[in-house]
Each structure stands twice: as structure tokens, then as C-alpha cells.
């Protein structure tokens, strides 16, 4: 199997296996390194076309978005925070397991297309939990990105100011 195809297959399995097995297997507590791993894998794909072309500016936008996520998540009900972290921990666990096999050195090696395909498969999955993961992460991540005034340039929008 070609390496890229293997990774694609692996991702599909990661999504399904991580979430198809009972989620209670995974911790509900926040693990910062897992959040960082999952957000840094998904954000560049979801925001493809919205991020600045300049590498440094794109990195700054991603950094800002991750910070906005960390700032926002504590306002969600505890139940939802736990569900979110369980999902993130499950995904991160699969990522590190695959990494041990040597085929998956870093999630960042995946092409944007591969990551989008993974999200697309979740959206179309027969598993409700994967559909929820797709819609939940999508809303959370887009909200965090487009909440920042620095990211409104493409929109030709500025909020009025009074004070």
C-alpha cells in the first residue's frame, strides 16, 4: 500500500476506532497536550483558504485561534467539556498509537486533503457520535477563528467602536 493511502486508511480507522469503541474508555479530563495535538491537526484543514498566505501570519492566526479555544471552553457546561475532552483524548490516543508503528511520525505530515477527508467521513458517518464530533468541532473552531478581529480582513468587515 502506498504510504499516503495507508495514512488515509489509518485516519479513517482512527476516526472510527477511536469513537466507535466506547468513549468511556478515555479520560474526560482536559489534557493540554492532547487538545494542542488535535486542534493543530484539524485547524489548518478547516481554515484552509481562510488563513493568510504568509506562513508567519498563518501561524499567528492559528496560535490566536487556539488561545481563543482555551479561553472559551471553560464557559461550556462541565458535561460538554468532558465530552469534548473525551473525544480529543480518544483522537490523540489513536494518533500516538499509529505513531508507534513508525508510519505516522507526526499528524502534521498529513496533507490538508487527508485531514479534510477524515472530517468529511465523520460528517457522513453512520455513527451519530462521529457526526456530532464533526459538527461540534467545526462550530467550536470556526467560532474561535472568526471571533478575532484580526481575522476579519477577508470579510471586509470591521465592528463599530464607541469607546
Amino acid at each position: 500500500m502506498h504510504r499516503r493511502q495507508f495514512i488515509l486508511a489509518g485516519l479513517a480507522i482512527a476516526g472510527t476506532a477511536a469513537l466507535g469503541v466506547p468513549l468511556w474508555h478515555y479520560s474526560v479530563s482536559a489534557q493540554p497536550e492532547n487538545r494542542a495535538l488535535v486542534f493543530s491537526a484539524i485547524l489548518p484543514a478547516l481554515l484552509y483558504g481562510a488563513l493568510p498566505a504568509d506562513g508567519a501570519a498563518a501561524a499567528a492566526a492559528l496560535q490566536r485561534t487556539e488561545q481563543a479555544l482555551h479561553d472559551f471552553i471553560p464557559y461550556l457546561p462541565k458535561r460538554q467539556q468532558q465530552e469534548l475532552d473525551q473525544l480529543i483524548n480518544a483522537l490523540a490516543h489513536r494518533v500516538s498509537r499509529l505513531a508507534i508503528t513508525g508510519y505516522w511520525v507526526s499528524v502534521k505530515e498529513l496533507t490538508i486533503n487527508a485531514r479534510l477527508q477524515m472530517l468529511q467521513r465523520w460528517r457522513e458517518s453512520y455513527l451519530v457520535v462521529l457526526q456530532q464530533a464533526y459538527h461540534g468541532l467545526r462550530e467550536l473552531l470556526y467560532g474561535a477563528f472568526y471571533g478575532q478581529p484580526e481575522h476579519w480582513q477577508n470579510l471586509n468587515y470591521t465592528a463599530p467602536r464607541f469607546r
Partner: protein, 518 residues
């Protein structure tokens, strides 16, 4: 505003007890009206609010601040299966602080339905009309005389082109600068929400406000409430466990909204002989249609809602669900989270942000055996979760609503119309859209459904076997408990709810004051 009669519960260091003649849980449309009525009648009033006491100087017109600070669950509240997003205020003034100011009297057919199905009387001294008039006067509710912004104008133009009914909206504003940021808190105090009207007046008359307090339990014995147990919330509005606050009063008014009030009663295991507590919760399930126009729409600017259409709200075929057509304000987070697709597709849509017109259809739920609403449950932490099943009857209405909106948007000159459904495309003509929407898969999560109106769960009825409270909002089993909020509505309304709640609560306050006065 003097802060001498305001207590921020999150600053309290020790357990404490408070007492008053009247304690009101919640400061939204119901609690706000009640606070002023009882303070004016000379009662010692204590107002409890889970949110913070933010005021105009805090309102920065940015969603990233407004949603976590002013809305329930950071404006990310969802039904149990995550298929419906719910916008609901959680701040002093409740949803009136963040709503879009639309003020509509309860439609006559809704009142007639309540009369026939729930035995409720709206004649003679129970007539709501004088109380709507009082609320309209108090809150400066008038027809919006400024021309609609382009987002609303397209709704009007589409109706005109098709010969559909439309109306100019009455708004509760005074000195409105047509900014368009009502949903983030009015920065110039033009919106006559409870925050700037009844609550400051009640406080001037001696009422005390405790903010950042979450009431966890109603203590009751036999047929009486004997106290409340509450806790402060932390900086993220999560209930804390380190301090306990207790409250006692002669009469208790519950006004925590249609999710909060049933949740508190469920946590308190109050008598529920009708079995209806926390059930029959209605949402006006709302679907969205986006359209791209050649010209600038700039839907973030101007009064967010100034035109509505009732063309389809009371269909002749009574077996079909009706829906009301309105528009929402268009802001970056609201749009980015709702527009479908990912990556370039999503980025391209966002780039057309200023040419985007958005129409919404609010389904009038609760008037049919297959539309019996949702159920409030409690999670492990005792926090509410609404389970709201989307039935085939509702989906049929969703499809008709998507069709009506696409037809309207093309009639108004749209270049493209995009039903907000994850399987839909952008369509370039009404005939293309019509054929595609007819075949569109409608299922939870695939079809985006939202709500900004939460109603029911503690419905009023003439008799205890059909409701939680009587026609005056008095609890059937606990004699010193009243419920004065949208939770008492026996169905949805077919209209935005704030004026219904203002008028109904005003009337019920007058009757309760007469009963409680020596």
C-alpha cells in the same frame, strides 16, 4: 446606578442567609416585569440572577465577549443530540438584554387554542390586551419608522414580488442609533430591556439584586415553599460548591426561563401530579436560508429585525405546521458557525459576507399531536439538558419553509440561494432550488436547526391534571410559589415571545399583588 443594593455573590466569603417579602429567581422578561410591579406595590423584593450585572459600558459589540459573558452556555447551548442550537440570555435582564427587540402581541389563534385545549380564559379581567398596551407604553414599543436595513428589505421585496403578507416590526427601543448589535447588549441603552427599565426602577424603589448566584434547590414542606438553597457561580458561570446561600421569603416567584425553571423544580422534587413538569418544551425550531446578492447587504448594520411575514404561519391546511419568516443579524461568528462546508468552500462563502442575505423560518410547534415539544432532563451535575425530538411532521414543515425562503430570496433578486443544510448546494435559480430542496435529505445534524425562543415546561392550564400552574401562574400544589416566565406557555406562540411574557406577567402580578396585600 448605585451599587448599594447590588450584591455580586461571587465576592461572598461565607455562607449567608437573605430574606425578603418576594424573591424572584431570574431577571429576564418575567422577572424584570415582576420586580418593578412588586417594588411599586411596596413589597420588599429580592432579585436573583445567575449571570453578571453587565451594563452599557461593558457592551463592546464583539461576539467573542458577548457570547460567553451574556448567553447560556456561551451561546453554544444545544439539545441533547446536539441537533438544535439554542440562543438564550444569561445576564441581568435575561434574554431581553440580548434579543433583537421584536415585540409582537400573542396571536389571537394561539390564545384561542389555549382556551380550547387548556381551558384558559382570556376574557373580561383575564383579557391580556390592556396589559400589552401597558407594557408597550412602559417599554416604548412602537413600529420601527426607519427604513429597514437591506437584509430586512429583501424580505419585504420578496413578499411584495410574490404578493405575500408582511408587516413592519414593533421594537422596544428609545433613541435607537440603528447600529445592529442588539444581540451583544445595546451600547447606548436604547433598547428598553429589563436591564435599563424595570430593574433599575425596582432597585430605586428598594429592591436588592444578587447577581452571579445559581439557585440549586427549592425547599418545600406540604403545600408551601420554605426556602431556597443557592450557590455563587465562578468566573465561568459554573456553580461553586464552597459556599451556600439560603433565601427565605413570603412568596416565591420563579422566572428562570423555560429551561431553567423546570430544571430547578426537577432538582427540588416538587409535586408533579400532572406529570407535565419539564415536558412540552417548545422552541420555534428555526431553519435558515442564505442568499448571495450582487449588491451590498451588510446585514451586521441596522435594526436586526424590522420586517416579518406571517404568510405561512397559520396555513389553511390545519394538519401542516405553520412558520413565520424573519431575518437575523449577520455577524462573523454567528455566520461562520452556521454556514456549511469546510476549508475553501467555507472561506469563499465568508468572503461574500457583506453580500449575504439571510432569511429564517420559525416553526410554530406545539399545536399538533406530532409536535409535543421536548423534555428537560438533568445531567450528573444537576444542570439541564433539553431532549427535543424532530418528528416527521416537523421535517415536512422544514422542507416547505426551505422552499418558501428560496422562492422569496430569488423573487427579491438573489443570485444564489443556499439552504443551510449540510447536503445542500448553492442554487442559481428558483426552479433548480425547488427541485433540489424537494429531494434534500432532512435529518438531525445534516439539517441545521436553531432556536432563540424557549417556551413551555411548566405550562399553565385551568386544571391541575393538565398543567403545572393555573391561569395566573400560581403553582397548583405549592401555594406560595408562582411561575412568571415563558415556561408557563402551553404551546409556542407563532410570534417572538417577549411581549407575551411582559403582558401575561404584568396581569398575573396585578392579581397576585391584590391577593397578597393586607
Amino acid at each position: 446606578m448605585s451599587a448599594s443594593n447590588h450584591i455580586d455573590a461571587s465576592t461572598l466569603q461565607d455562607d449567608q442567609h437573605f430574606s425578603a417579602d418576594i424573591v424572584i429567581v431570574g431577571t429576564g422578561a418575567g422577572g424584570g416585569i415582576a420586580a418593578e410591579q412588586f417594588a411599586k406595590a411596596g413589597f420588599n423584593v429580592l432579585l436573583l440572577e445567575e449571570g453578571a450585572w453587565y451594563q452599557r459600558e461593558h457592551f463592546v459589540m464583539e461576539e467573542r465577549w458577548a457570547y460567553p459573558q451574556l448567553y447560556q452556555e456561551g451561546a453554544a447551548r444545544k439539545t441533547r443530540d446536539q441537533s438544535i442550537s439554542i440562543l438564550q440570555g444569561r445576564t441581568v435582564g435575561g434574554s431581553t438584554t440580548v434579543n433583537w427587540t421584536t415585540s409582537i402581541r400573542t396571536p389571537e389563534p394561539t390564545l384561542a387554542y389555549w382556551q380550547s385545549e387548556f381551558g384558559l380564559n382570556f376574557s373580561a379581567e383575564y383579557n391580556l390586551t390592556p396589559f400589552f398596551a401597558l407594557a408597550e407604553q412602559r417599554l416604548h414599543i412602537q413600529a420601527w419608522s426607519v427604513p429597514p436595513n437591506p437584509n430586512n428589505a429583501k424580505l419585504q421585496q420578496g413578499c411584495e414580488a410574490l404578493g405575500w403578507e408582511y408587516s413592519v416590526i414593533n421594537r422596544n427601543v428609545n433613541g435607537c442609533a440603528n447600529l445592529g448589535y442588539c444581540g451583544m447588549g445595546c451600547p447606548i441603552n436604547a433598547k428598553q430591556s429589563m436591564l435599563v427599565s424595570t430593574i433599575p426602577e425596582a432597585m430605586r424603589l428598594g429592591a436588592t439584586l444578587i447577581s452571579r448566584i445559581s439557585v440549586r434547590r427549592i425547599l418545600w414542606r406540604q403545600d408551601k415553599v420554605i426556602g431556597l438553597v443557592a450557590v455563587p457561580v465562578d468566573q465561568y458561570f459554573q456553580p461553586r460548591a464552597d459556599i451556600q446561600l439560603t433565601i427565605s421569603a413570603k412568596h416565591y416567584i420563579l422566572a428562570a426561563g423555560a429551561i431553567g425553571s423546570p430544571a430547578l423544580l426537577l432538582r427540588s422534587n416538587v409535586p408533579n401530579p400532572s406529570g407535565r413538569l419539564g415536558k412540552h418544551t417548545y422552541l420555534h425550531p428555526t431553519v435558515i436560508s442564505g442568499a448571495i446578492f450582487a449588491e451590498q447587504i451588510n446585514g451586521h448594520h441596522g435594526a436586526p429585525q424590522s420586517i416579518y411575514s406571517d404568510q405561512f404561519v397559520w396555513p389553511k391546511a390545519h394538519e401542516e405546521i405553520g412558520y413565520k419568516l424573519e431575518v437575523p443579524p449577520i455577524h462573523p461568528v454567528l455566520m461562520a458557525t452556521k454556514l456549511v462546508g469546510m476549508a475553501e468552500q467555507h472561506a469563499n462563502l465568508m468572503q461574500q459576507f457583506n453580500q449575504l442575505q439571510v432569511t429564517i423560518a420559525l416553526l410554530r410547534d406545539g399545536f399538533h399531536p406530532e409536535s409535543q415539544g421536548g423534555t428537560v432532563h438533568l445531567d450528573a451535575a444537576g444542570q439541564p439538558v433539553l431532549d427535543y425530538p424532530l418528528t416527521a411532521y416537523l421535517w415536512a414543515g422544514v422542507r416547505r419553509a426551505l422552499l418558501s425562503m428560496a422562492e422569496l430570496q430569488f423573487a427579491a433578486g438573489a443570485l444564489q440561494v443556499m439552504p443551510i443544510n449540510h447536503q445542500a448546494q448553492a442554487y442559481r435559480s428558483w426552479s433548480e432550488a425547488k427541485a433540489a430542496i424537494a429531494e434534500l435529505p432532512l435529518a438531525p445534524l445534516q439539517q441545521t436547526v436553531v432556536s432563540a425562543h424557549v417556551m413551555g415546561g411548566c405550562n399553565m392550564a385551568a386544571s391541575a391534571d393538565k398543567g403545572i400552574v393555573d391561569s395566573e401562574g400560581r403553582h397548583f400544589q405549592l401555594e406560595n410559589l408562582s411561575i412568571f416566565d415563558g415556561s408557563v406557555l402551553p404551546t409556542s406562540l407563532g410570534a417572538n415571545p417577549q411581549l407575551t411574557i411582559f403582558g401575561l406577567v404584568w396581569r398575573n402580578c396585578q392579581r397576585l399583588i391584590a391577593q397578597l396585600s393586607p
